[in-house]
Amino acid sequence: MSPEVKRKTHKLGELRKNSLAMIVKVGRAGDDVSQVARLMEMGLLEGSSVEVVHEAPFGADPIAIRVRGILVALRRSEANAVEVLIHD
């Protein structure tokens, strides 16, 4: 696959349990800067791989993801600030 062919990205908050993905972008236009920084401090950086490992009861929200060796809990709405490429 040539670099020009753009693969479709997803929002992290859309992923179901056991999905594996790589982060391509953290923060959208208009996102709260300190919130984006917080995500990054937790290790959600471009190039980090993430795995959705748990979904909470009552509507599968929040989710717990594994990123850079730790388990991070966040709501799907917060995870939507992170754009990912799903691993096949």
Binding site: G27, Q35, G43, V53, A56, F58, A64, V72
Partner: protein, 635 residues
């Protein structure tokens, strides 16, 4: 504090401990100080300030400051703000530390090192305590210490805080740093550029960590699969929820059933003590003061110590093991329905023991409105101080018959009162979040730490701290109130030949009579009004005061709970008892709660609001309950 700085021959050096949450920083603090520490608060905010003292092997005296855990010096919560303010020298009452001990969890090297890079840029001497190295080694980590220290530019000392390993080495390293301030280590690495954005800084730090770890780590650790395995159950949507219910059930079972044994024991000791004193002392005002005032009053509160300790034991274990954030994860959606954060679950759960630690635990909630809402509803959760009043009234007024097969009516009523408290808290939270404290939903984002065996040492210290607080309370507020009330209820004495109970002529009786028209609509008599006044100092004191009010009246009879219950059953209607129970669920009868709220919110507005709304709610609730019960024929 500032004056001290000027002294030329300063012998005490200030050392600060800094680290991520869950890195074992507090365990290391305990290992270093051996419990030789003082817990206080930073002025203006209720962030706990922990300072300890220790001598280094070379004979230097260190003041050790345990700074709140943080991921970054870019502070967002009140706790984190303290850490960065101290480190940047923005808190004037706190001297700048001479040396920083950075604590990092060796099993999560990638995490802890980011903060070190930030600390290094401060230009202060730093020593890295690489904690939990035993665990990391067990997980197969092989690390070149020399390379790690060289690349980080700070000395690295492996520690196992829970077993006080590496403590002496750490202190020696701090000594070396003090002797060579501005020397070898702190100069080796150029100070980072502050001109870049915070986001860019985080990216660079992670890149730098990746670079260092690639050099220093010979073999990476295989993360413990245990946490994964446990989480498969604990965070499972169905089993995890059931487990949470089970844990809560166990906690309540423990405080209602198991705690009864030591409580009965204490109760009989208090009763025995009262009898002994009554026997050995000549009758008179002094005997009355000691038996009816001090022993009956303080004793009625002291018997709750086992219950409070047992509850805190559970909370400490759940916190120490790493379960609490998981409970927040499971509960976030439900809490979110009423506009609360998942993290509010922990403070509200603690409030079942006592609203004061509960309110103090709200510090972990970042958002101001969220935090205020949690603080304001925390006292509606049924604290253990209400329990004695509940059990007294239930035993006296609710028949202990079986209902719906095998359930006891008394137990059911008790459960109902707890449920009512929770329900009221959630409703009020929802209303507040939709009116006064309206605002965007704050994020949940948090780390779910690796499970750990709770350290018996830190749990023991936590319980000891509780005991100390309780003893102080019993020895001061409760003692003073008991004596005051005894005086108010005993004097002035009725004149010879005046009819009716003696207490009717006392000051307490007069206050009660003055309040009677106000409390009559909710079914209370003047004696309840009398007892409610000291109950405001501490809820559980009401039992003691009811005992005083009724015992003094009954010709020197001792205020033993059963006798009191029987007396109340004769004197009150069921409707009155139910009204009082509802009052106890809803009213803010605790001066300490208001005081801690003031400290937390830094204004009298919110405690004032808390008192006002809870009193209105309680009055309305009791009014409805009383009239409903009377209409049903329980008048």
């Amino acid at each position: 504090m500032i004056e001290k700085k000027g002294k030329s021959l300063r012998k005490n050096f200030k050392i600060a401990l800094i680290g991520n949450p869950n890195c074992g920083k507090t365990a290391l603090f305990n290992a270093l100080t051996g419990g030789n520490a003082k817990v206080g608060n930073y002025p203006g905010v209720t962030v706990e300030r922990k300072e300890g003292w220790v001598s280094s092997p070379g004979g230097l005296s260190f003041n050790l400051l345990d700074l709140p855990g943080t991921y970054s010096l870019e502070a967002r919560t009140p706790d984190e703000r303290i850490t960065s303010e101290v480190l940047f020298g923005h808190r004037h009452e706190e001297e700048m530390p001479d040396v920083l001990i950075a604590v990092a969890d060796a099993t999560h090297l990638e995490r802890g090192l980011g903060l070190i890079l930030e600390l290094r840029a401060l230009g202060k001497p730093v020593v890295l305590a690489l904690n939990m190295t035993d665990l990391a080694e067990k997980q197969g980590l092989m690390l070149d210490w020399v390379i790690l220290a060289r690349e980080l530019g700070v000395p690295v000392i492996p520690t196992v805080a829970t077993q006080t390993q590496g403590v002496q080495e750490l202190l020696t390293a701090v000594e070396h740093q003090l002797r060579s301030v501005g020397g070898f280590w702190s100069q080796q690495v150029p100070i980072q550029n502050f001109q870049i954005s915070h986001e860019e800084g985080i990216k660079r730090r992670f890149a730098e960590i990746d670079r260092i770890l690639a050099l220093a780590v010979l073999k990476p650790s295989q993360p413990s699969r245990w946490t994964d395995r446990i989480d498969r159950l604990v965070l499972h949507p169905l089993w995890g929820s059931l487990l949470l219910v089970l844990i809560l059930g166990l906690v309540f079972q423990a405080i209602f059933t198991w705690a009864q044994v030591p409580m009965e024991l204490l109760r009989s000791v208090v009763g025995w003590l009262g009898e002994q004193v009554a026997h050995r002392m000549p009758e008179g005002p002094l005997q009355s003061l000691i038996v009816d005032g001090v022993i009956a009053g303080v004793g009625s509160v002291l018997v709750f110590l086992p219950q409070i300790l047992l509850l805190f034991l559970f909370i400490l274990i759940l916190e120490d093991s790493g379960y609490m954030p998981r409970a927040a994860f499971l509960m976030d959606r439900l809490m979110g329905r009423v506009g609360l954060h998942g993290r509010a679950f922990i403070p509200l759960l603690s409030s079942f023991a006592c609203a004061i630690p509960g309110i103090m635990a709200t510090r972990t909630i970042e958002d101001r409105r969220d935090r205020l809402t949690t603080i304001l509803v925390a006292p509606l959760m049924t604290c253990s101080a209400r329990l004695p009043v509940y059990s007294l009234l239930i035993a006296a007024f609710i028949p202990n018959r079986l209902v719906l097969g095998s359930l006891r009516l008394q137990g059911l009523v008790m459960f109902g009162l707890y449920f009512f408290g929770v329900f009221a808290a959630l409703m009020v939270a929802m209303l507040l979040r939709r009116s006064l404290l309206k605002g965007p939903k704050p994020p949940l984002l948090m780390e779910l730490p690796t499970y750990k065996w709770p350290s018996p040492r830190s749990i023991w210290m936590g319980l000891l701290e509780r005991c100390r607080l309780f003893a102080r309370r019993a020895g001061t507020v409760i003692l003073a109130v008991s004596i005051l009330l005894w005086f108010l209820a005993s004097y002035p004495k009725p004149l010879q030949g005046q009819p009716g109970p003696a207490i009717a002529y006392s000051y307490a009786g007069r206050i009660g009579h003055a309040l009677e028209p106000w409390v009559k609509p909710i079914g209370f008599n003047w004696k309840i009004a009398v007892a409610l006044i000291p109950g405001f100092a501490a809820r559980e004191v009401m039992i003691g005061s009811l005992a005083t009010v009724y015992a003094v009246e009954g010709q020197g009879e001792k205020g033993v709970k059963d006798i009191l219950g029987a007396k109340l059953a004769k004197d009150w209607s069921v409707a009155t008892a139910m009204s009082l129970l509802v009052w106890y669920v809803l009213a803010c009868q605790c001066f300490s709660t208001l005081a801690v709220t003031r400290r937390e919110t830094n204004s009298w507005t919110w405690p004032g609001f808390m008192l006002a709304y809870m009193t209105c709610l309680a009055y309305a609730g009791s009014f409805l309950t009383y009239h409903f019960a009377v209409a049903l024929g329980f008048g």
